[in-house]
């Protein structure tokens, strides 16, 4: 399922990017070096980090999208740079755990 379809079905807002990538896995962590070595290409990456360094990490790992949970604020400069780099950022009020569980259930046809 694509990022866009997930966002539409679960009510996540698409803040940047086109959301055309396919989600093939999940990763949730805020420690950037940890994410770099453990997240995988195509993952939906959930993090409360909202500084610009997450974009470098997202493009190094080549994740499908970044999801910023818990209603964490997203600043204009982050959004601008993400658009420049073609990185999709979603936002949700859900917790990181719930965002992953709901998306997983949706993709696997359980909701």
């Amino acid at each position: 399922m694509t990022v866009k379809e997930v966002a539409e079905k679960l009510g996540f807002s698409i803040l940047t990017g086109d959301g055309e990538r396919e989600i093939t896995g999940f990763y949730a962590c805020d420690l950037l070096s940890w994410v770099i070595s453990h997240a995988k290409n195509g993952d939906m990456w959930v993090t409360v980090m909202n500084n610009i360094n997450i974009l470098a990490v997202a493009s190094l790992v080549d994740v499908a999208c970044i999801v910023i949970p818990e209603g964490v604020e997203i600043y204009d400069n982050l959004a601008e740079r993400a658009n420049e780099k073609g990185i999709t950022i979603l936002a949700t009020e859900l917790s990181a755990a719930d965002a992953v569980i709901k998306t997983h259930d949706l993709i696997n046809g359980n909701i």
Binding site: S37, N51, S59, L60, N77
Partner: protein
């Protein structure tokens, strides 16, 4: 890929955290343009990003010198920062002296140096307290 050697030099600026990673993303673009295998590009750019970020957060900036040949990519990140008192300790996963400010930005897991080791074929750390640190990272392209 042609036989010629490509050399790149970058200043790593520590003024602005938000631009950190520019040298490694520049190298990533060059390697992509040269048609290097994407898996190898990923390894090189991850290792270089970690070294570049370390120069920014631990050493107030530095320099990156990159040499791309048909056989290998060699990245040297050097700085005139405080140096690493015990490289053996610093290489341990989880070992970090990152400040709270830096941790709030998501750094400080103590995984940067171990990641560099993991993603390269050869890694060398030369460091002297009060003088600076030089990290050499090599990934071979034909193995």
């Amino acid at each position: 890929m042609s036989d010629s050697t490509v050399k790149l030099h970058y200043d790593i600026d520590a003024e602005d955290f938000t631009t950190a990673g520019e040298a490694s993303s520049g190298v990533k673009k060059t390697l992509t343009r040269l048609g290097v295998n994407p898996e190898l590009i990923k390894r090189i750019s991850i290792a270089m990003y970690e070294a570049e970020i370390n120069a920014v957060i631990h050493a107030n900036g530095g320099f990156a010198d990159v040499e791309i040949t048909p056989e290998m990519v060699k990245v040297v990140i050097s700085d005139n920062g405080p140096g690493i008192p015990c490289v053996e300790d610093a290489m341990k996963p989880g070992w970090s002296t990152a400040s709270n400010l830096v941790r709030e930005m998501g750094f400080g897991a103590g995984m940067g140096l171990p990641n560099m080791k993991r993603y390269t074929d050869e890694m060398c750390v030369e460091s002297e307290v009060g003088v600076g640190t030089k990290i050499t990272l090599i990934v071979y392209l034909n193995r």
